[in-house]
């Protein structure tokens, strides 16, 4: 086990896969100088500018070219810089990448990975802070990955590159510097298997990406009050680990879903509905979900902070579900 940052884990995953498979290549803006966050640092030196390819600021072409190149048997890793900018490439991702296999009757696969840095960090305002994972989860054909730890960033990116499906790989900008243990050697994390962050018997909390860490903080505080939280990091939203979530809620009788993104039509609603459909009569408390209010993300810190789902809010919700408010 080595201590590695979330950023380095992603870089190591890409480098390993590029060494393993000469058909893997990366393309995006400013990759040659290491990428906008340094997540490609050193790669052009090892793999050259054809495989760590700089691109014009031309998201539709980056994504569209990746679709064509993927259908031709290469495995492009597309960098979108900020997930907000991927919106300039939605036709290419949603109408083309996600549909080609089905629409053409199975004649082709589109094995591309779109890396989309998501989330709030500080004062990046409405066009550099979004988390739109629920949009992609709604699109048949796409895999949606939201790692919360360095080990998962590595293991899931490697799985994404090996996947024959188009994968939306959402890395949280606030986690780049997070360090954690990453298993040595070949480390692959399969899609659709949630991670048990901590076991508990009272309340199941389901989350993903950076919000997992906020929920973990809440769970620690709740432990001191005698509330045992079972925290599940979903890791991938499509496919999502329904079995793990249902088994946990069957045990605890309580479900709280929390995500950084807007609560309305967020993926938390899908989880809440699924749990209600399967376990409704067994629940000890109504299902709760905590996401951002349906407003925009602001620049000024007090306004920006107003939309964050804090550990205090999570703890309050859990207490209320336990009848301790």
């Amino acid at each position: 086990m080595a201590m590695t940052s979330y950023l380095e884990a992603g870089r190591d995953a890409l480098a390993e896969e590029m060494r393993r498979d000469p058909l893997v290549w990366a393309v995006g803006e400013d990759l040659g100088r290491g990428g906008v966050f340094g997540q490609y640092k050193g790669l052009v030196e090892e793999f050259g500018p054809e495989r760590i390819a700089d691109a014009p600021i031309s998201e539709a072409a980056i994504m569209g070219a990746a679709v064509g190149a993927a259908m031709m048997g290469t495995r492009p890793v597309v960098e979108m810089r900020f997930s907000d900018f991927a919106l300039c490439a939605m036709d290419e991702l949603v109408n083309q990448a996600a549909k080609a296999r089905f629409m053409f009757g199975g004649q082709t696969r589109v094995p591309l990975v779109v890396r989309e840095p998501i989330g709030m960090w500080r004062s990046s305002a409405a066009q550099h802070s979004q988390s739109l994972e629920a949009w992609y989860a709604h699109v048949p054909g796409l895999v949606v990955v939201c790692p919360a730890t360095p080990a998962d960033a590595k293991g899931l990116l490697k799985s994404a590159i090996r996947s024959d499906d188009p994968v939306v790989f959402m890395e949280h900008k606030n986690l780049w510097g997070l360090t954690g243990e990453v298993p040595d050697g070949e480390h692959l994390v399969p899609f659709g298997q949630a991670r048990l962050v901590r076991p508990g018997s009272d309340v199941t909390i389901v989350s993903w990406s950076a919000q997992v860490h906020v929920a973990a903080e809440a769970a620690e505080g709740l432990e001191a009050e005698g509330i045992e939280v079972e925290l599940i990091d979903l890791r991938t939203l499509w496919p999502w680990d329904k079995a793990r979530v249902l088994a946990s809620v069957e045990k605890t009788g309580r479900l709280l879903v929390t995500h950084e993104s807007v609560a309305v039509a967020g993926f938390g609603a899908e989880i809440a509905a699924t749990v209600a459909e399967h376990l409704g009569p067994q629940l000890k408390a109504p299902v709760r979900r905590l996401g951002a209010p349906r407003t925009l993300i602001a620049y000024a810190p007090p306004v920006e902070n107003a939309v964050r789902v804090t550990s205090a809010a999570i703890a309050d919700a859990a207490r209320s579900m336990m009848g301790r408010d």
Partner: protein, 331 residues
């Protein structure tokens, strides 16, 4: 082209046959629409066959072709099987896409035809990427991307041409200009010098050609593909033609003046090719034979398609993706 010694009669005859096959396919498909057996929208290219024939004559089987919603001719030209295409239009088993795509999403990867596309201009960036892959893999093939005049006002046209030029990719872009973007006259909605001027602004050499003159298209495509194969980077062909039908099979195209259509009908490409062949001594019977053979082929394709079964409902859940179960009962 002057008839006589300069005429490559065999070559022109092959175009004559292919153009008839394209027309007969589409006329049969329109009959199928009347029969309510062709199920969705079809976009005929009747009158535009010379572009498909002249361009695809210069593509090898390993070359890649990307097409548009108006792509039957391109697809036949690339070598796809007419019977499988007709099945696809009828939504039947044995269609190129198993009946899951229809006319607008016909693809035949076995002949390097990477798909028609329901979104205007969407194929241009995909074509650039296919060429990018060819370059990365050091393969000797090229990509041919056909699109209509309406496509040049969409962003992917700009982004795809820039991409192909910047990365010096082996792509032949072909603007098949039929004068109408859906039902709107393109001229009224397009600023500046049009398709070729825009291509040249990216440093991509562009040629304009009478798209109803199959030999002119053939000659232009010969030069352009040769330049691309010699490592010259992307090239651009602007072929002016005319759509003799409406935008779709059900569009009467009443927005076009009758005299305009009548004048353009006199310039349609098959008649022009036939005239050259007659002047070169090909008998009317032989020319009629090309037509009859094509019509018979497409009628047989149609009848076989009518007899073919629909795909099962279970096909809704195949080839979606590897990860996850798409069925409702999984939830």
């Amino acid at each position: 082209m002057t008839p006589g010694s300069n005429l490559d009669q065999d070559r022109l005859r092959r175009h004559h046959r292919l153009m008839w096959r394209i027309r007969a396919f589409e006329e049969q498909a329109l009959k199928g629409l009347d029969d309510k057996l062709v199920l969705g929208a079809i976009h005929p290219s009747i009158g535009q066959e010379a572009v498909a024939s002249g361009v695809t004559a210069h593509l090898t089987r390993q070359d890649i072709l990307l097409s548009t919603h108006r792509g039957h001719g391109h697809t036949l030209g690339k070598g796809a099987d007419s019977a499988a295409m007709m099945r696809e239009l009828l939504g039947r088993e044995g269609g190129n896409c198993g009946g899951k795509g229809g006319s607008m999403h016909i693809a035949d990867f076995s002949v390097g035809m990477l798909g028609a596309n329901g979104v205007v201009a969407a194929n241009i960036v995909i074509a650039a990427g296919a060429a990018h892959a060819i370059k990365l893999k050091r393969e000797p093939h090229l990509v041919c991307c056909l699109f209509g005049d309406g496509a040049i006002n969409r962003g992917p046209f700009l982004e795809g041409l820039n991409w192909a030029a910047v990365f010096h990719l082996p792509v032949l872009f072909v603007c098949e200009d039929n004068g109408y973007a859906a039902t709107t006259r393109t001229k009224t909605m397009t600023a500046g010098g049009g398709a070729s001027a825009r291509a040249r602004s990216f440093g991509i050499p562009a040629v304009e050609v009478d798209g109803n003159d199959v030999l002119a298209v053939d000659a232009a495509a010969a030069d352009l593909t040769q330049a691309i194969r010699a490592g010259g980077g992307p090239r651009f062909l602007h072929a002016r033609t005319y759509r003799l039908t409406g935008h779709t099979g059900s569009d009467p195209a009443a927005y076009r003046p009758a005299d305009e259509v009548a004048a353009r009908r006199r310039e349609e490409p098959i008649g022009r090719a036939a005239e050259l062949l007659r002047d070169a001594g090909v008998t009317p019977d032989a020319l009629q034979g090309d037509q009859s053979e094509a019509v018979a082929e497409m009628l047989a394709a149609y009848r076989a398609a009518v007899d073919a079964p629909f795909p099962s409902a279970a096909q809704a859940f195949t080839d979606v993706q590897d990860a996850g179960d798409p069925r409702m009962e999984a939830f």
